[in-house]
Subunit: 367 residues, 4 copies
């Protein structure tokens, strides 16, 4: 498959930045799931551009449910999410020069010249709007089953937020709720915002590292080969534009540890098996162990910068100097957090349906 993801849930994204609309179809959602409009809006709002640390292209991103939902409940039929493009200023993007580290060149090769890549076309970050709306539906489903997901900015340049407590980040997840700039430490948040604003002033941009926690998953979810919990999450997370790496638990630090340091010793607590540390990020052998699933993703600096860069004209191969105009985000790390939450929610829902069946999520029949 291609622009389609999932085994039990199937999500297809569609649309181009400067076409009439972007959207998503999710098939496989069980019937009878409540989808409160305000819950979807809350997640969508966290993805919105805001202040001077974001693009000035402000879209309403009004989510229309074209199918699959009635009277606030899923019908069990495919759910179609539509978000119209209203504020496209195509003139901003008319140059025929491929922008460094953008998908301009790869899109040109992939689609052999036929794709409308203005504003990023089908590659545009705007596609994360329906993706986030779809994830919001899953976030609600999971919460009803005691599974919560949250993401914060762990690092921008040399500024670090406090880390999630590896064995119990539940309180920290609560503290993140509703934060438009999802950082645990207010002081770190201020420094990060300042750094982004500074980069914006220079016509430059920044990336960062995000940390995500999934709490409340039982042991036994995932597979030993191929559809490992790590592999499924990673597969989906690399769809979030600008993600260039993912690691679980202690991640790349494991290269410096010995087995005796890295292993998570077992203990029993209130009749339940737990680990005393969580360097494994809640997953062993591809399968959840009942501890929080913890992973980090690295987001590259947004490639659209006002500074001059070297490029070429893809037709003549002449070398050109380019300075990307238009409205751009000097950083998307904060806006990426709800998108990562959404993507994680889709994968976790898929894995839960695999393990427990779709009916696990339905509270009661309407008949």
């Amino acid at each position: 498959m291609k622009n389609v993801f999932g085994n039990n849930l199937t999500l297809t994204l569609f649309g181009e930045s400067h076409g009439p609309a972007v959207g998503a179809v999710i098939d496989g959602l069980p019937a009878g799931i409540r989808v409160p409009e305000e819950a979807v809006s809350a997640v969508m709002n966290r993805r919105k551009a805001y202040g001077r640390i974001s693009t000035s292209r402000h879209e309403e991103d009004k989510v229309e449910f074209l199918s699959g939902i009635k009277d606030g409940f899923t019908q069990g039929t495919p759910v179609t999410i539509l978000i119209r493009n209203e504020n496209a200023e195509r003139k901003d993007y008319t140059e025929n020069i491929i922008r460094p580290s953008h998908a301009d060149y790869t899109g040109l090769e992939k689609y052999r010249g036929y794709a409308d890549l203005s504003g990023g076309g089908h590659f545009s970050g705007r596609l994360t709007a329906p993706l986030t709306a779809a994830g919001a539906v899953c976030l609600g489903m999971l919460e009803k089953k005691g599974i919560t997901i949250g993401t914060h900015i762990l690092q921008i340049r040399t500024i670090h937020d406090e880390r999630f407590h590896e064995t119990d980040p539940a309180d920290q997840l609560n503290a993140l709720r509703g934060k438009q700039f999802p950082v645990l430490s207010d002081q770190a948040a201020d420094l990060m915002k300042h750094a982004i604003a500074e980069a914006a002033d220079e016509g430059d941009s920044l990336g960062g590292i995000l940390e995500t926690a999934v709490c409340g998953l039982e042991a036994g979810i995932g597979e030993p080969w191929f559809d490992t919990a790590e592999g499924m999450i990673a597969h989906a997370v690399f769809s979030v534009p600008a993600v260039k790496g993912i690691s679980f638990g202690a991640g790349f630090d494991l290269a410096q540890m010995k087995g005796s340091e890295a292993n998570d010793a077992f203990t029993a607590e209130n009749g339940k098996i737990k680990t005393m540390t969580n360097h494994s990020g809640g997953i062993a052998g591809g399968i959840t162990n009942g501890m929080p699933v913890l992973f980090r993703t690295v987001i590259k600096p947004t490639p659209s910068i006002a500074k001059e860069q070297r490029s070429v004209d893809p037709e003549t191969l002449e070398e050109k100097i380019i300075a990307v105009k238009g409205r751009h985000d000097p950083a998307i790390v904060h806006r990426a957090c709800p998108v990562i939450d959404a993507v994680a929610a889709l994968v976790i829902t898929d894995l839960c349906i695999e393990r427990y069946g779709a009916l696990w999520f339905t509270e009661k029949d309407k008949r």
Copy 2:
């Protein structure tokens, strides 16, 4: 799906460590691909345990092709690889205590007590033998089309190998061929081996970071959403036991860079578009850009260590002290390199079939 991977190629792994055999079935290989026995053996040999830095369980790992291959060529029908288990010493693994950071506990939960987990069962690293053999077939196919893949140990603890040249690692890939301990710098190799031997002496273990390069891929391979080149590779690579992270190009270092530093400027060379740096790891917007695909994976220290660790009895929940007996690897980083090569080859072959069709690989009809 579960223990099955791929869109155009479909690989299923089967078998348990202490069952009669482990194996794989690959469906979707085009007819008429030459599969030289010695080429498969060469890759398999690189995966073998050797010296005092590996387990003393030496398996012959004799690959039988039960179907799909005739007279050294693929028939186009499913290829079945069988490797019999001959040297299983089940007594080594009889304790009923779950080993920290192993799949003992997660396997118990996943399979509800029914899986034979002795020696790791279906989770065993032995399953990477048929996986590697399957990948060896693909490595041969790709090489005929000018696509080469290689992996070296970049780091163990604080010992670093030299890095791949980001824009042209072809010579380095050549230098790695046939190395049983795949490290570019001989000095680094000695230090790494020494560190592993030392950990072995302490009853401890080590992990490390591997770096992989794929050369010769054209621009245009992958998808913008979900089946991104990064997502497909990551999905598969997390199946390699002990992998806990993956990053592309500059990876987690991107968090510290500005856009003006991270972006890969374009240039033209001999009528072809290239980038001057390769912080993107050969992929933009999920699609290859014609530069080498570069990624790093982190391998955790092997969890089986002789040192005493805290654990519990999963039935009584009593706390226990465990020291893992049996024959184990103090490190698997070197043995993991050909496995990563194999997995990458499977994914790249899948993506090439997607792009070019299966017939692209067949040289000529036999009729």
Copy 3:
């Protein structure tokens, strides 16, 4: 998967009869395919209700392409088809009694009471509008490669049309083009229309048998197991509402034949291998043999009839007498023909991409 079909092409249908819209997303279409609006309209028109032998619910069925098409060419990105529901008269369908041989009861059980089944909901024949539009795109692609598809009504009650010539129905396919009531013999057509009108007058309905031919396919397409050409076509064709059977070549008549009568002897014609008869319907061992693919489908009489029928109230289980009101088709056999063409085109396109790669269909790069 569920409401998603295809390996290389992925089609998802969405929408409810009385919701805001019905539609489809097709992923996997190669870039650079011309999609002439008038060609899509021509196929859509053949599906339209007309005259007194169809429902009086006349929808415009205006096809909007929300994504994936630009300047009349596919972009290579997912194509979204949207058809708004404008003429829904929900009041016609308000009774809470399950209609015999409709999906009312099975939909109630499947979706546990949460699906809006008015007007058939997601089961509605209206969903075949976007399905047909999607197929129309494929019909155009295939025609460019010399592959043509056509369906006629072979039988209604005891009235028979002439059969396709089993080894060369090309002229007959031409004769069918543009016929709103696709029957080869004008005399049979008149008798059939008369029979339908008569049934309508009685408040009753009719079904029939359709015959489809696919010309121009080369030998070698399909698989020996599971994804046989027959299995793939059948899987998709059973999605067309009211289809209850499918057979290839001589079909159920093979039960009465001996091997010496049923076997298709080979001959050579202009340097090409052909069969002298085509009882196999162009497929042997699941794989096309280069002869026309011929299959028949049986369509049950439309279940909505004005005559009184016995039913029950699904809540109280009380027995009830029901007479289905509202606007209904006394027969859909003629309207089903372009839908079968569309579905066949989707499957054949999928199989051709599998065999030849997606680029086979693209005429030239735009770059």
Copy 4:
């Protein structure tokens, strides 16, 4: 996918008739399913050649479980079935002439000359041995949940068996158990055997129509589009070699009926909704309605006949006369019955996992 089937269960068939073995891998079976050896053997025995109405190639068809089963229970890991080829007499099949209505020619084209097609190669009916063994596992699982499946020969030439009672064939399914020649009426059975023996004497062969019933399925299983219950069953059933058609319920007879005759009126019985007739074959809108699922398949006469037939040499295109030597079945209708049962069981199991989750089948944890 190709030689792989299923959404929740994934079955891959492998092997060639004259290779070392044929086999299957099933992934997705829940852990803790009892697999009694004698139950598997019983189903396998029904598929065996016997008497003078079958081939004289008698294989032991000894089923080895190479993985996934331990102490008579599924482990939850992939189950590998291996059946060695012991009685291959390759010399019988050495002629280089393509046999009419066999897969010789299509296999040659598909695999471009590289496949070993002797004895049918990967197309051989021998592959139905592991397919049947895999289905036998599912038949056992389903029976524990009250779901039974049975198939009888409904028709050979003009000889008819009695039909299944459309609303309750349970007693008839019981009567079929253990019958080597599965026909309900003993008189019809004798006539059928006689007809087959007569065809054998003439060097000819026969086909027939099979009728299958699935009892005990609840309403609500299947999907409205694409993965309809009919489409899923049909997709799989066309993998059974020689099947050329399938119909559900009244099938092709529906073409002659009016809606008022075809519709299945509802009634209530013991607090459960039932239909008074079952022309729908237990499926409406693609979804089961709780009545028995009834379908018929047509099996073409076995193409290997001793009588002379016209063919060509595929290399020179010279016309040739061929008389197929070797050991062949004059009819496979009786041997096909357990294969259809097996295939139906695989699909029904897949659909049940979809609806109820895999854990539905597991009786209890072993922990």
